[in-house]
Symmetry: none
Subunit: 249 residues, 2 copies
DNA sequence: TAAAACTATCACGTAAGGTGAGAGTCAAGC
DNA sequence: GCTTGACTCTCACCTTACGTGATAGTTTTA
């Protein structure tokens, strides 16, 4: 049975020693054993408990509440993990909204346009609670305006989505026409850059992820098919060009 | 020029009135105007400033530092937004790792297996600072292990993307098998909810956007083709079910 | 066996607001 | 014009989750 000192555990879990002291003090995480010297030693079950604590903390639960939850005899680790999973995914979606808000703001900034609706500036900041949302809008503006607003937004939203799709098509098309060039040709790389930016608006791909992706374009049938449908050989070509791009930047 | 009272701005930006008072007090966000009554009124430029503040706050910047940044004459809104973008994506990736850690833990829990390496319990908890990461790892374990780590991460990224794709496939498949039911059947709606969450992880579709999307599934050939390829008629079925979903929630 | 490296317990400090209390202000309806 | 309910103001003390020493004992390493 392995034993960890404060320092060792702190490093392992990326928390400070003070944090462990604190958790001991408030009875949230007590060491499995205390030598007569007073030193704290943590064992396996403490490691699991700490993981749980950190998951809850990540979700902004107050420590006192975490303690109550973990000490409740009805506590079940698997249920808790599934709960965390749900909430973390929720947070991911919130971040996605936030990124979208950011891109919209950037877009308006470039066009030097005035906002029609300042509301847009703040979408995604509210910490996840989500419940009564639609009803609030209805209350605010009345049902009639709601419908009108809805249909107007409707066509705008459709246009946005279609535009996004079109942008993707354009990038693919442009690249397919450059397949006679070398992968490291500036004209190719320019479009790869666009491709990279385009993909990051959907998926958080930094260069390492993007690089992993490049491999998928040739390894995975689904990816390969999608691109080769535009023009046979595009998948392999793009994959190579992406790798070059990653190395260059 | 529109003017917002504390309450109005607080609601708009999902912060508390107290927070606005506090920001005024520390000189982070001063109202554009103060009536003789002492009431605070905020104008357009304050709205933008608040957005910036919230982005920085989301990234755990201390308020004092935010103030210094925003008041620096070299401050540029576009540069700042691009910085936020980078960091938010970094956080998304951290959450991704955290979810992976969670799934691994769940997996081990079910198999009732012992962990070979407790280190795994805590991947993704460390808040992003990241700069000197590679160098740190290299220092610690030597260059050889670094490469290994890289390829492992690589495969994790690939696995994540493939898992995402698989999730999409599963949802489509499940729905295609429920086409004999009514669109408002709970079993159908359950999967529509998953579909909605799934799409949101790529593109933040609130209910109005999702509704617009529903129409695209029948109006736009590209969308239609994608779904009808799974099973003819799925596009229309899903479209209807999505509309029901939007009205129900 | 001494130095270097940890660890322990106070104890006070801090950031970002929460939570009233007491008093002035504004908009609407009568 | 007056009342009433909903806002708003300032002060001031409270809270959470640790950070940051100070001082003193313990373990490990040379």
């Amino acid at each position: 049975m392995e034993q960890y000192t404060v320092n060792q555990l702190a490093k392992l879990a990326s928390v400070s020693v003070r944090t462990l002291h604190h958790y001991d003090q408030i009875g949230l995480l007590k060491p499995g054993e205390r030598k007569r010297s007073g030193y704290r030693y943590y064992g396996e079950s403490e490691l699991y408990r700490l993981q749980q604590i950190l998951f809850y903390r990540e979700l902004d639960f107050p420590l006192e509440e975490i303690r109550l939850l973990l000490d409740d005899p009805r506590f079940n680790r698997e249920t808790a993990l599934l709960f965390h999973r749900e909430k973390l995914q929720q947070r991911q979606r919130r971040l996605q909204v936030l990124l979208h808000t950011l891109d919209e703001t950037l877009h308006q900034l470039k066009k030097e346009e005035k906002m029609s609706n300042y509301d847009m500036l703040y979408k995604g900041f509210r910490k996840e609670k989500v419940q009564a949302l639609e009803s609030e809008v209805a209350e605010k503006y009345g049902a009639a305006t709601l419908d009108e607003t809805k249909t107007r937004l409707n066509s705008l939203d459709k246009a946005t989505v279609l535009a996004l799709q079109k942008e993707g098509d354009e990038i693919n098309l442009a690249l397919s026409k450059l397949m006679h060039l070398q992968a490291d040709d500036p004209r190719v790389q320019e479009w790869v850059k666009k491709h990279h930016q385009y993909t990051t608006s959907f998926y958080p791909a930094d260069l390492t992820v993007y690089r992993a992706w490049a491999q998928l374009y040739v390894e995975d049938e689904r990816f390969k098919a999608t691109y080769d449908k535009v023009k046979p050989g595009l998948a392999a070509f793009l994959s190579k060009a992406m790798l070059v791009y990653c190395l260059r930047v």
